[in-house]
Amino acid sequence: MIQTENDTLVIAGRSFRSRLLTGTGKFKDLDETRRATEAAGAEIVTVAIRRTNIGQDPSQPNLLDVLPPDRYTILPNTAGCYTADDAVRTLQLARELLDGHKLVKLEVLGDQRTLFPDVVQTLEAAERLVADGFDVMVYTSDDPLLARRLEQIGCVAIMPLAAPIGSGLGIQNRYNLLEIVENAKVPVLVDAGVGTASDAAIAMELGCDGVLMNTAIAGARDPVLMAHAMKLAIQAGRAAFRAGRIPRKRYASASSPIDGTIG
């Protein structure tokens, strides 16, 4: 029996068996959201905090009805925030919404075209949130020095992008990710940029502790099947990382013994 039972992802003292975290945006409807989340085997799911629609039918099903907080760890996210103030305010509302829930995803964007993080605002927001008692998982650029700084501030997980949000370009700078992973004492999760299963496997083979994705699943032709593929890729990549790959060599090395060949 292969031992994977004890290989848990620990974030802020909580253990998770799944290393695939999924977003809940862009799905066709709430039923597809639920089926894809189940196929992904995700235990942590991100949500956005937005104004309610005044004057619309309030009896419509709610996201948290299909992904109940007693079954999933809900990770409120500040996607769409462009200032530290907005991000902090959004997460304080989220904490109230989720009955004092402390684990959050911080994301402060700097530019609409690239959706790259504004790292100056991100640092400021992270400091304020940590001081306010939040457990902050932080979306950031793939800059190893910045990752270290965010860890020093007290963030509980560092989440560098692999490529721009929703781009599906895959892992663009694996050496930076490797550097971040090797330096970090908190979990490192790739957040954003994954396009298909092999991208997720590469992130895990580099030693990342997990991957957070949304568009790669929700935007696939068959989101539920892609969620399943991502789950397998994360498991395969993680197992390969733990198994330890062979070194790369320039020339061949025969797999069969030389001794006993005929002729």
Binding site: T24, G25, A48, I49, R50, R51, T52, N62, L97
Partner: protein, 66 residues
């Protein structure tokens, strides 16, 4: 009295608690969070919190997002 609710101007009764406002808009017992003039009002205070003219109120909930 006039209040700003989720960015839009609304005309509401002069005597109104936050709980009444939420119920009138179908949010009674729903999982929402509320800010009045940038101050978060805890759920336990909804029935006591009086709305005042000119208040800027935000009612938020969780929706799908990455």
């Amino acid at each position: 009295m006039k209040i700003t609710l989720n960015g839009d101007c609304h005309d509401v009764a002069d005597t109104l608690t936050l709980e009444m406002l939420l119920q009138a808009n179908g949010f009674g017992g729903k999982r929402v969070a509320v800010e009045v003039n940038r101050q978060i009002i805890p759920r336990s205070m909804y029935s006591e919190h009086a709305i005042r003219t000119g208040d800027r109120i935000e009612i938020v909930h969780a929706i799908g997002g990455g």
